[in-house]
């Protein structure tokens, strides 16, 4: 029996109309704001685009004396630090989420409290991470972690150079710490939404805990976890102050993970206060434009991947 409202009159409620207007306006407004942001960035960087052209993206120098600017080093720094952050932070974040969601009812409350504590990490301001990193993390990396890495894996080119403490590796580590709460919070919700029928079915087949997680839960929550990854990556790409303290701020091409680098965000924060002639201001706005487009590209790429991953399956969160 199917009911159909074909031919019925529309509701005459004015309240509904107002609601739809306001909500529609808000939604369109956000999109309009984004577009306006992009246009403003493009407009402000005109001078730099016409002066440098594509060389802006292929040179690695930031020299306000000779007025030559190029972001290649910063671009590589952003991608490296964010990639490292995902590599280190994703397993931990998802691990926390799995721990919380897979516990039995008995200690679930305790596990949830643990999860809340992990998510408190997200409440710490980014500058505090930078200061803490400068005073605690850097001596630790430089005194223990990096010499150990060099002793064991020093033959790899990514660990070449003296252990500096203030380098891409430390930047990646602090970013990993900062994205753990984001990834863990979203993944926890995703994993909790996996229906128990999936787990029960797997258990009844005689699977172990780990096999249940690996074969029944995680594949079901695949796209949700991917969404969490993209959120974490977005935060890592946009993070400024913590990275500015710890990454070494050298705009030349980094030769290894242990060399001081720079990211697009630290480039902006370091130069904006002192730039006054039009070309350097335009160059900084162009860095902002590059960052904006990078974030856009990453998001579009991620959405396409999610779409491709889930269009063939019936299960999607």
């Amino acid at each position: 029996m199917t009911a159909s409202l074909k031919g019925t009159r529309r509701s005459k409620s004015k309240g509904d109309l107002v609601l739809k207007s306001v909500v529609g306006a808000a939604a369109i407004g956000i999109v309009a704001l984004l577009v306006a942001l992009g246009i403003e960035l493009a407009y402000g960087s005109q001078l730099s685009i016409t002066t440098f052209g594509l060389g802006f993206l292929t040179k690695a120098t930031w020299n306000s004396f000779t007025d030559t600017y190029g972001v290649l080093g910063a671009l590589i720094g952003t991608l490296t630090a964010s990639g490292l952050a995902l590599l280190l932070g994703l397993p931990v974040g998802i691990g926390v989420a799995i721990f919380i969601s897979e516990r039995s009812r008995g200690i679930k409350a305790g596990a949830t409290a643990l999860g809340t504590l992990v998510e408190l990490l997200a409440a710490v301001p980014s500058v505090i991470y930078g200061l803490w990193g400068l005073v605690v993390l850097v001596p630790f990396m430089r005194g223990y972690i990096e010499p150990t890495l060099k002793n064991v894996l020093g033959f790899l080119p990514i660990f070449a150079g003296p252990p500096n403490g203030l380098d891409l590796l430390t930047g990646g580590v602090i970013l990993a710490v900062m994205i753990i709460p984001t990834v863990s919070a979203v993944s926890r919700d995703v994993l909790n939404a996996v229906p128990n029928s999936q787990r029960e079915a797997m258990y009844s087949l005689g699977a172990t805990d780990w096999e249940v997680v690996r074969k029944a839960v995680l594949p079901y929550a695949r796209s949700g976890i991917f969404g969490a990854t993209i959120l974490g990556l977005g935060r890592a790409v946009g993070e400024t102050m913590a990275v500015a303290f710890l990454i070494g701020n050298n705009t030349n091409l980094p030769i290894s993970l242990l060399s001081p680098g720079a990211t697009l965000t630290t480039l902006i924060v370091n130069d904006f206060g002192s730039a006054s002639d039009p070309l350097s201001v335009a160059a900084i706005v162009e860095v902002g434009l590059v960052l904006f487009l990078l974030a856009l590209v990453i998001n579009i790429f991620a959405r396409t991947l999610v779409w491709r991953m889930t269009r063939s399956t019936k299960f999607r969160l």
């Binding site: 739809k20 306006a36 029960e200 029944a216 050298n250 002192s274 299960f315 999607r316």
Partner: protein, 457 residues
């Protein structure tokens, strides 16, 4: 509770599957379809409101478009790309006629500029508020570049910069305007280092410093450094170079000195108040970051402001630099002041073009007659328009009087140098009297509606 919208045929992604867990077969579980119930029942599809007229979404779009058009229109009509119109900081004077015995009308003035003088400026503002309580001064340490942009746009009553304006910055000033550059304070830049086991003050020459920061000298026991320090055994360890990551007046002065000392540095790196292309080394954020980097990392060297060392005595070791007369000078407040007095022995520049190339470091670099001056000494400057009544200055009469009164106080009483004076405790050498006299001449030339501001009040 079973969801009535399930049917076996096509499970929609937003439908949760609830029901008896029946094991079917050994198919892969990620593709398993569990049988729930076979009822085929659909709720009616999305209700279509067949009504003529605008829907809510359409109205929303129209509202947003109107708002965008109005905003764009207002922006085009009232503002240009770089805000040359003033908005907030130039508040009008209070209408009450409260005056003190000095007879200066109450006013609120704002300044903005570099961070080098910020600690001293804070103290000045605080002390001045007791001298002239009816005048409120505020200062934003946003960086020299932003300070110059602010005064170009008339957003502040006085700007502050760690270096005189460059040609392109002069070109950015409103047409027909004259901007005066007035030294109000100064600084010296010291080579701070941290070598375990060495407490002596090492000697450096400008050339050696340039080679260290360029990367040509990489070891502490390089003969070029060792030969300058015969009494000290330097360790065979790599030099770790640190510098500021952001633009600053401190780095401007230091790299200007390196450019004078070493032609490779001048050609390849140069000097600037902005971010520099340091060939080697790690950048640390702000002076505090640089100090932390040096004290936390052995075998490191970095250029640091003398103010930091004086405010935190004994925590940072620093070296002596050779001046033109051949003496190795360990920086202190006295020899920096003397260097500045030497720097203005030919007076201050009078034209914009002369200001773009003015520098105490360059004036004293080849000055062999001054035996005990410290070679890396710089001024920091206040920037005010000569005609404060002009529209681009965005200053009222009372604000002009207040600004000049404040600046006069700064270059006279603010430079007191007793043992407990802020200049001593915060580490800013007092202005030499020759510079003060030149400053007062400049300030006397500032006019409002044709009459000089200072003598008129």
């Amino acid at each position: 509770m079973p969801n009535p919208r399930i049917n076996m045929g096509n499970l929609r992604p937003d439908e949760a599957i609830v029901g008896p867990t029946t094991i079917l077969s050994i198919v892969p579980y990620s593709r398993c379809r569990l049988p729930i119930n076979l009822l085929e029942m659909r709720l009616p599809p999305k209700m279509n409101f067949y009504r003529k007229g605008a829907s809510g979404t359409t109205i929303g779009i129209v509202v947003v478009v109107i708002v965008v058009i109005v905003a764009a229109g207002a922006y085009l009509a009232f503002g240009t790309g770089s805000g040359t119109t003033t908005t907030t900081t130039t508040t009008t004077t209070t209408t009450t006629t409260t005056t003190t015995s000095t007879g200066i009308q109450a006013a609120t003035i704002a300044g903005g500029g570099g961070t080098l003088v910020y600690p001293l400026m804070q103290d000045w503002i605080n002390t001045y508020s007791f001298v002239e309580p009816q005048i409120q001064v505020s200062y934003s340490a946003v960086g020299s570049g932003t300070g110059i942009k602010d005064i170009q746009g008339g957003l502040v009553n006085f700007g502050e910069s760690d270096a005189p304006l460059s040609t392109s910055q002069y070109a950015g000033l409103p047409s027909g305007s004259t901007l005066l550059t007035i030294p109000i304070s100064d600084s010296g830049i010291i080579p701070a280092y941290n070598i375990p086991g060495i407490t002596a003050h090492l000697n450096f020459t400008g050339n050696v410093l340039a080679e260290i920061f360029y990367g040509t000298i990489t070891q502490w026991n390089d003969p070029r450094i060792q030969s300058l320090n015969p009494g000290v055994t330097l360790p065979a360890h790599a030099i770790e170079v640190y510098h500021r990551s952001d633009g600053s007046g401190t780095m401007y002065g230091f790299t200007q000195y390196l450019s004078d000392a070493n032609s490779t540095w001048k050609a390849k790196v140069g000097f600037s108040t902005g971010v520099l292309a340091w060939p080697v080394g790690t950048g640390c954020l702000h002076n505090a970051g640089v100090a932390q980097c040096v004290s936390g990392n052995p075998y490191s060297i970095a250029p640091l402001e003398i103010a930091y060392e004086i405010a935190n005595p004994g925590q940072i070791n620093y070296g002596a630099v050779e001046n033109a007369a051949g003496h190795y000078i360990l920086a202190n407040l006295t020899n920096i002041s003397q260097a500045l007095a030497q720097g203005v022995r030919n007076g201050l520049p009078s034209t914009d073009a002369q200001w773009t190339s003015f520098s105490v470091i360059q004036e004293t670099f080849n000055d062999t007659a001054a035996t005990y001056i410290y070679p890396i000494s710089t001024f920091t400057y206040a920037l005010v328009y000569q005609d404060m009544s002009a529209s681009y200055a965005s200053t009222s009469q009372a604000q002009a009087v207040a600004t000049l009164n404040f600046l006069t106080w700064v270059i006279t009483s603010g430079q007191a140098n007793g043992p407990n004076a802020p200049t001593t405790t915060l580490g800013y050498p007092p202005l030499p009297s020759a510079a003060v006299a030149l400053d007062q001449t400049e300030l006397a030339s500032i006019t409002y509606n044709g009459t000089p501001v200072l003598s008129g009040s």
